[in-house]
């Protein structure tokens, strides 16, 4: 594929991650790899209030490169608000750091991509899949500049990466739910985002499409991207995520599914409505 780096065989935006991996691989058995590299994303005592009501209360956690994290919680627990606050789309207290750098504005957080709930965008809008993915390249341009040829190549490359080759001329409403989610993921990758936050993206997606989506997610994780995926499907969380965050206004659990999906944590997260 012409859009992949000749040296590494990966897309250009992922080659720097691979270089870090190569350097670390030169020093075998380096025990403090996680400690040497700063967290990719660090959320410190993050809080959000709407009209005096606390929606999120002092949430803190850190994620490294190449993590696949399920964010679980009941409807109204604040999962979407957490993602929006991390992206700087809602006012919040506390701090967000990306690559060890404190984020002051939205533009500091362009390494984080937010993929909204499926229902939040009008998919009958006259925009093609290619144009959607190309929208991710906007961060590299000024407002009056048009995307260049290499931006188009990058967009096509990202479509291949998410198993949507040759779909660039299709309208969004011609895609299945799973394909649409993959198109949004391609846009986030075109944005060169290293953290992807998917808000309830798996709701209403059938099992084969979910399997195909996770094939793409796992490939991205292997390439160094980190994905946080909000879901209220606990069976899915148990099967698919190596790490889960349980949220209901506060962070109530953080760890492997065996720990976070224990009866104790689920009781505190879902209350009396805890799913079986």
């Amino acid at each position: 594929m012409k859009c992949l780096s000749r040296r590494t065989g990966y897309p250009p935006n992922l080659t720097s991650i691979l270089r870090i991996d190569l350097i670390l691989d030169i020093v075998p058995n380096m025990p403090v790899r996680a400690a040497v590299l700063p967290s990719l994303l660090e959320v410190i005592r993050l809080g959000v209030e709407y009209d005096g009501i606390t929606v999120l209360d002092e949430i803190s956690f850190a994620v490294g490169r190449g993590e696949l994290i399920g964010v679980i919680g009941p409807n109204g627990a604040g999962k979407s608000t957490l993602f929006k606050a991390i992206c700087g789309l809602v006012n919040h207290s506390g701090e967000v750091e990306v690559n060890g750098v404190h984020c002051h504005s939205r533009t500091d957080r362009m390494d984080i991509a937010y993929i909204p709930q499926r229902s939040s965008n009008d998919i009958t809008f006259p925009i093609t899949v290619g144009e959607l993915v190309l929208a991710g390249r906007r961060r590299f341009h000024r407002w009056y500049e048009r995307p260049a040829a290499h931006d188009r190549d990058e967009a096509l490359c990202m479509l291949e990466l998410v198993n949507l080759p040759g779909m660039q001329d299709r309208s969004l409403n011609q895609l299945s739910s799973g394909q649409l989610q993959r198109a949004y993921v391609a846009r986030a990758l075109a944005q060169n985002a290293s953290v992807l936050m998917l808000d309830e993206s798996l709701s209403g997606v059938d099992e084969p499409s979910t399997t195909e989506l996770f094939e793409v997610f796992n490939r991205l994780v292997e390439n160094g991207s980190t994905l946080l995926i909000a879901t209220h499907d606990l069976a899915l969380a148990r099967r698919r995520f190596p790490r889960c965050l349980a949220i209901n206004r506060r962070l109530l659990g953080d760890g492997p599914p065996d720990v976070v999906l224990s009866i104790d944590v689920l009781d505190r997260t879902f209350g009396s409505a805890a799913p079986a």
Binding site: L89, W143, R146, P147, S171
Partner: protein, 285 residues
Amino acid sequence: MTAGLVASGFSTRELFHGEYLKALVGACIIGVVAPVVGTWIVLRRMANLGDTMSHATLAGVAVAYAAGANILLGALGAGVVIAILLILFSASQRLGHEAIIAVMGSALFALGIIIISRIDTTDELEHILFGDVLQLTWSQIVFNVLIGGAAVAVVLVLFSELRLASFDHVQAEQVGVHVELVQAVLVVLLAVVVVISLRTVGSIMSVSMLVTPAATARLVTPTLRRMTVVAVVLGMSEGVAGVALGQALGAPPGATIGLLAAVVFAIAYVMTLPRRMPHHHRPFG
């Protein structure tokens, strides 16, 4: 169409000379500019803002008329005021944009009515409300070409920004698009369309040229670029045909254009109905 006009005693020569030529040129200008802006108004589901703007400009017109200033600039000023107020009030999460737009529109319309009731008006204000494309002067046409051309140029330059902000404003903000600024620019462009409409279809009917051709194009085209082109072709055709038909039938040109555009929309709506029916709905499947 031409045969019908000739049969009704209206000569082709008459149509292309003097005031008719100016009327046709005026209809063409609004037929291009209104659909170019209207495409975005339809896509962003802001047709009610167009309606509000058409009413609110009355305050600007009335103030300018009372002060002896250029009424077109007064109308443009009202549009800019609305754009600024929308930005100022957009921080309110309790009220949606629709409520704020309705309050502002009705307040400015009421202000316009009160001012007009206090001053001696001539036919000119009636022309502003209902339009009279046959009274267009060449200087007004040049003014419309200049501000209309500027509006089209702004849309072309901001095409990508408008698309991003209209489809997914959250992602647009993330990648550096100033979504609120784009919205404000669109409101000012809307005011420009209303100003151009004042002398042709009138302020009240301006929303018809703004929304109807673009809405028709939305029904029959799948892509944004084609939608814009089809809306412009429809806008120009309906403008020219409306002027000619209105003249032939002795009906006001502005109202004729509006009615013609609505008929074309209705035909497109009916013709595309089968395509828009959900294919997957099988009651016994």
